[in-house]
């Protein structure tokens, strides 16, 4: 009896300790959740620098931002990876800062298409006027996208296209990013050499497009992809797989690495450094995170291709649709090659 009570007290003590620890943790990192770099022109939200002249023109908002009053739903495939996490966090932040009367609800599909389509159905029922949709799967989400359109909702496909008629599709192009990297590798190697590829999660559409684009970019050169292994878009895995590849291909057998994202490229750079082969292997990647630009600047990362967030562009497009302004069916952001020659102009304005 007393024994049981004692044990219970201890459990509660443990639980209390857990609570305190969690609170402490949140408390001392709370300030880290600062608002992102707002590039406001006056009090107007401007698109990012990766939105070229055409793109800028397409996103000219004529209405008064303060007067835009409508319900916007944001449905992202998953918020458990950096791109999705940043997008679902920043869209409501920008909306709040620049369109005070815009009411934004966000949902996270948690990587499951069924889940995501249920969430979209709920949003439709709640009476949203604009839907910003980044589908888990282009076909699986087509049904609800059509339902939304039928209910008079304007749909914006953000980052990924959905297989239905939508008001606009905003995003850059994965295949084009691969092409840009392919050309850059061919040029850096003087048209001939061997490259190993660290590919993203197998079967994912960005992985397929980034692989295909790269090979297109290499066409016409004698650069050969001598090995391709997946590292699941993950830094630690990239490091591990690169260690193995360096083992398999001895000194002088690899001239370049093409990684489908920055994170895997960071892992590869570390493995190459630890093997003391940084002089002979150049690393190329895609995404353009802030850390990537620092590494490009210091020379350990040959180049990255920007795959920009579309948060500002999506927010502006939503505002335009709310105001009843027409929006072009395709708004494309640039795939910018960022290497040592131009990195200075992008520092502090990283694509992701």
């Amino acid at each position: 009896m007393t024994h049981a009570t004692k044990q219970r007290t201890r459990s509660f003590a443990a639980m209390a300790a857990a609570g305190v620890a969690a609170t402490l943790l949140t408390a001392c990192t709370g300030q880290a959740t600062a608002t992102s770099s707002n590039e406001a022109v006056g009090d107007k939200l401007a698109p990012s620098i990766y939105c070229g002249d055409t793109c800028q023109g397409q996103l000219e908002l004529k209405a008064d931002p303060a007067g835009i009053e409508c319900k916007v739903g944001v449905s992202w495939s998953s918020a458990s990876f950096p791109y999705g996490a940043k997008s679902t966090q920043q869209i409501p932040e920008f909306a709040k800062a620049f369109f005070p009367k815009m009411n934004v609800t966000v949902s996270d599909g948690r990587g499951d298409a069924t889940n995501q389509s249920n969430q979209v159905s709920e949003m439709i029922a709640q009476g949203i006027k604009v839907l910003i949709l980044s589908p888990q799967d282009a076909n699986a989400l087509a049904g609800v996208a059509k339902q939304a359109t039928a209910a008079g909702i304007k749909v914006i496909a953000a980052d990924r296209q959905v297989n239905a008629e939508v008001s606009t599709y905003i995003g850059s192009d994965n295949e084009e990013a691969g092409v840009v990297d392919g050309k850059a590798v061919a040029e850096a190697l003087g048209g001939t050499g061997s490259v190993v590829e660290l590919s993203g999660s197998l079967g994912a559409s960005p992985t397929i497009a980034r692989a295909a684009g790269f090979r297109k970019g290499l066409e016409g050169s004698k650069v050969e992809v001598i090995a391709s292994q997946t590292a699941n878009y993950d830094r630690a895995t990239g490091l591990k797989v690169m260690e193995d590849l360096l083992q398999r291909f001895g000194t002088g057998k690899i001239q370049a690495v093409y990684a489908h994202n920055d994170q895997m490229a960071f892992g590869a750079i570390q493995a190459i450094k630890e093997a003391g082969r940084e002089g002979e292997i150049k690393v190329f990647g895609i995404d353009g995170e802030a850390e990537a630009l620092d590494l490009v600047k210091d020379g350990s990362y040959a180049a990255t291709v920007g795959y920009p967030l579309v948060v500002k562009e999506s927010t502006i497009a939503a505002a335009k649709l709310c105001a009843g302004e027409p929006v072009e069916p395709r708004i494309k952001l640039d795939s910018t090659l960022i290497d040592k020659t131009n990195v200075d102009q992008y520092l502090g304005k990283a694509p992701q």
């Binding site: 044990q7 219970r8 201890r10 459990s11 443990a14 639980m15 300790a17 857990a18 620890a21 969690a22 943790l25 949140t26 001392c28 990192t29 880290a32 959740t33 918020a79 458990s80 990876f81 950096p82 999705g84 996490a85 940043k86 966090q89 590919s199 197998l202 090995a227 391709s228 292994q229 997946t230 699941n232 993950d234 830094r235 630690a236 490091l239 591990k240 797989v241 260690e243 193995d244 590849l245 083992q247 398999r248 994170q263 960071f266 892992g267 570390q270 630890e274 093997a275 995170e289 850390e291 992701q352």
Partner: protein, 367 residues
């Protein structure tokens, strides 16, 4: 291996011990021999060091996981704990906390998460699968929240931090040394401490363990805390290795760790197995993926091969387990009465800690 059951008690005890401890080692040796024929470059010192380093993170998590699985539970949250602990360490270092304290804090995060898992399982009686699934999701959310979804870089590098991340001692990678230390601790605790024996007892039958005086609640909470601590340590080490706290790190390490434990011969039903097998299971997994990369096997086929190897390893281990279980049943005093030539003492010898025959639960419950 002996197919005929030995008649002498000591011989029986020995063969049981050999089989339970050596099976994974034998599998490993056979595999390494096959590898030697296929890819000589595997045996280059630099590659062996790679494999050692690559086995460390999953290995450390798996040693902790062994405690939980031996109780008949499972811990799906270790990957998320790894990420949260790395993120915590990174953020604290960035905020100016001295590195040793940041390391401790990272590990403490793991312990706290483990305690929560343990309370959920032992006190609130939530099924381990569901409890740790829930914390897995919640903790991942917390990591993403703390980092705004992106990896957190930090630059402060201290010798010890470097050592557990990417350093080495006398040529042996630091992470691998830490792994071996943790493994040794795990083996000793499970084998020689009363707490270790309680773990087996609970896995055999929680009710019986409770009735025979084992403080089951406390033991289970401790088991999950150990799993959390190991995952936390793995998180700190991953952060030290990469120089970032990555909120999405280790997303598949729960499955890898469970695989290592099961390949190592520990039963998911609990009560049978041990940390020795787990160590070899983890090393075996690392060798497997390293060799496939050295051979240049396509990533699609790698998954197929990995799956096949897991099934084969588990089948071999399961067969041995069933055999051991049967022999134990025959050894038990109750079974002995139905069989005239009884050997009643062999099940009571506590010299074979890798099986649960000597647990207090076994001795007090009538079957």
């Amino acid at each position: 291996m002996t197919t005929q059951a030995p008649t002498e008690p000591w011989a029986k005890g020995l063969s049981l011990k050999l089989r339970s401890n050596l099976l994974p080692i034998i599998i490993l040796l056979v595999m390494v021999a096959a590898v030697a024929l296929l890819v000589p470059s595997f045996f280059q010192p630099s590659n062996l060091l790679n494999v050692g380093r690559q086995s460390a993170i999953v290995g450390i998590i798996a040693v902790g996981m062994t405690f939980v699985i031996l109780t008949g539970g499972i811990d799906l949250s270790v990957g998320s704990i790894l990420a949260l602990s790395g993120v915590t360490t990174a953020i604290l270092i960035n905020n100016g906390l001295i590195v040793p304290l940041a390391i401790v804090a990272g590990m403490l995060v793991g312990v706290v998460a483990g305690i929560i898992n343990g309370i959920g399982v032992a006190v609130l009686k939530v099924q381990p699968f569901i409890m740790t699934l829930a914390t897995m999701v919640a903790i991942q959310g917390l990591s993403l929240r703390l980092t705004d979804g992106g990896p957190r870089q930090f630059s402060n590098r201290e010798p010890f931090f470097n050592f557990i991340g990417s350093g080495s001692f006398l040529g042996v990678p630091g992470p691998f040394i830490v792994f071996l230390l943790i493994a040794a601790a795990g083996i000793l605790v499970l084998r020689y401490l009363a707490f270790g024996r309680y773990i087996y007892a609970i896995g055999g039958s929680i009710e019986a363990a409770r009735l025979s005086g084992v403080r089951t609640t406390r033991t289970i909470i401790l088991a999950y805390s150990i799993s959390g601590l190991c995952a936390g340590l793995a998180g700190v080490m991953t952060a030290a290795r990469l120089g970032v706290g990555d909120p999405t790190a280790g997303s598949l390490s729960n499955l890898d760790a469970i695989t290592a434990v099961v390949i190592g011969g520990t039963s998911l039903m609990g009560g049978i197995g041990g940390a020795v097998g787990t160590v070899f299971g983890a090393i075996l997994l690392a060798i497997l993926s390293n060799v496939m990369n050295l051979l240049g096997i396509s990533p699609f086929d790698q998954q197929v091969v990995k799956g096949a190897v897991i099934v084969i390893a588990v089948l071999v281990a399961a067969k041995a387990t069933v055999k051991r279980f049967k022999e134990r049943r025959t050894d038990s005093p109750k079974a002995a009465t139905s069989q005239p030539p009884a050997i009643p003492t062999s099940s009571a010898t506590p010299d074979s800690p890798e099986r649960d025959g000597s647990s207090p639960a076994e001795q007090t419950t009538p079957r």
